[in-house]
Symmetry: none
Subunit: 224 residues, 2 copies
DNA sequence: GTTAATTTTAAGGATTTTATAAGGAAGAAG
DNA sequence: CTTCTTCCTTATAAAATCCTTAAAATTAAC
């Protein structure tokens, strides 16, 4: 279920867009003010919809500010119909420019097209609820905050999340993470699990279940 | 130099579009008839521009026929302004739908945006917070001051900044910078990192993180 | 309710990895 | 030839992680 962020100062417009896109099955968040939004927040989403003319920071300025740090498609949604504005928008790194008034059908079709193209590209982001793993960067995030995992903690945590719902014994976890031959004391894994849980709990989430007498598993969403 | 294919039965339109896009530096081929075009031919191009209403095979039919075999962006360029046609176009896997009459500026902007996303081409100037890299001049700046990097230091630093957020081992960094066969002592890289950090710290910035047990990475903004 | 097994927690030391500093080799510039 | 810069190596100090151990808490079984 892709996550979208819509930024517009017009609350009616926000409600309209949100309704239309939620009907498509997307998870939609809205913001009325761009100025306070940091790139880290935007990176939580799969696509951004931006109004251009807003009090405070306008859409162009916002796009310029975050573009180098945010990879997802950025779509302008605006009443500025002049070519110069459109060219400026694309020049700032936008992926589409939809002129108001637009039809709901067009909005949905364009959003869908951009998301479709994203998934065509190999992704290195694993999302499990509020926790995201950047496989390449070997970094985990809780919301917009980086989780300060050590190497071993990250490896164990990623392995559990990647195979969500599957139970692993301590020995299996140790082998999966540090290699076959590795002979790990099971209690070493327990120590790592403890630290992982502590760092996750700091953000109010505890997605790792203990299966008594067996091992650990990452919760599947239906277990919540 | 990206290669584009434009398909339209209107020869004046073909000439207009070709001229506009060749001015951008693209290599443009044109076809007046879609029916004879095979997917293999289309795979030669980086982007397709398609008219919808054509004698013989129309644009929608053509798109449906080749989409599963052709990965590049497909843009419709059409006088059919109805929402239903637009939705149908996107539904067939198109990436954009430009309504006639369109401005040359808009055409260029949209084509450029789609190619940019495909290739994700970096610009000559890379900005990461307060640090800027001039890729061509191989020079880095902190604010207005030039950073006195040596050649090797610059190469390592640029590589980290270019892939901000991604972790590289010392070996990977050495290879990326000095070539595949290079067998570098990891500690040589550590020495360079030390010097790079010292020069950045002189301007009050320290954007390179150590990922213990893995390597180094350029911070993404959320890590600050 | 009691017991036994298992997990959680906490603390310490061992190990691994990185940071720092100093010295030398190779090459460019004067 | 000398001088300088850059790069690499080596050695040592510092830091962080990992593992071990043991006690406390929890869970399951009787």
């Amino acid at each position: 279920m892709p996550k979208l962020l819509v930024i517009d100062d017009d609350l009616d417009m926000l409600a309209l867009v949100r309704t239309a896109l939620e009907k498509e099955g997307y998870q939609v968040d809205t913001e009325a003010n761009a100025a306070s939004l940091q790139p880290a927040r935007c990176r939580l989403y799969d696509l951004l919809l931006l109004d251009v003319m807003m009090p405070g920071e306008d859409g162009f300025s916002f796009c310029r500010r975050i573009r180098t740090e945010v990879d997802c498609p950025i779509l302008f949604l605006t009443a500025k119909a002049e070519d110069s504005a459109l060219v400026q928008g694309f020049g700032l790194g936008a992926d589409d420019y939809i002129k108001k008034p637009f039809s709901i059908a067009e909005l949905r079709a364009r959003v869908s097209a951009h998301l479709r193209r994203e998934v065509r590209q190999p992704t290195h982001i694993l999302r499990r609820g509020n926790v995201r793993f950047d496989i390449q960067a070997k970094t985990a995030y809780a919301g917009e905050h980086t989780l300060p995992f050590t190497k071993g903690e990250y490896a164990i945590c990623e392995h559990l999340a990647l195979h969500a719902g599957q139970v692993f014994t301590k020995e299996q976890l140790y082998e999966a993470v540090f290699g076959f031959d590795a002979e790990g004391d099971p209690s070493a894994v327990a120590e790592h699990i403890k630290n992982i849980r502590a760092k996750l709990k700091a953000h109010g989430i505890c997605p790792i279940d203990t299966i008594w007498g067996v091992g650990y598993k990452w919760q599947k969403s239906e277990d919540l």
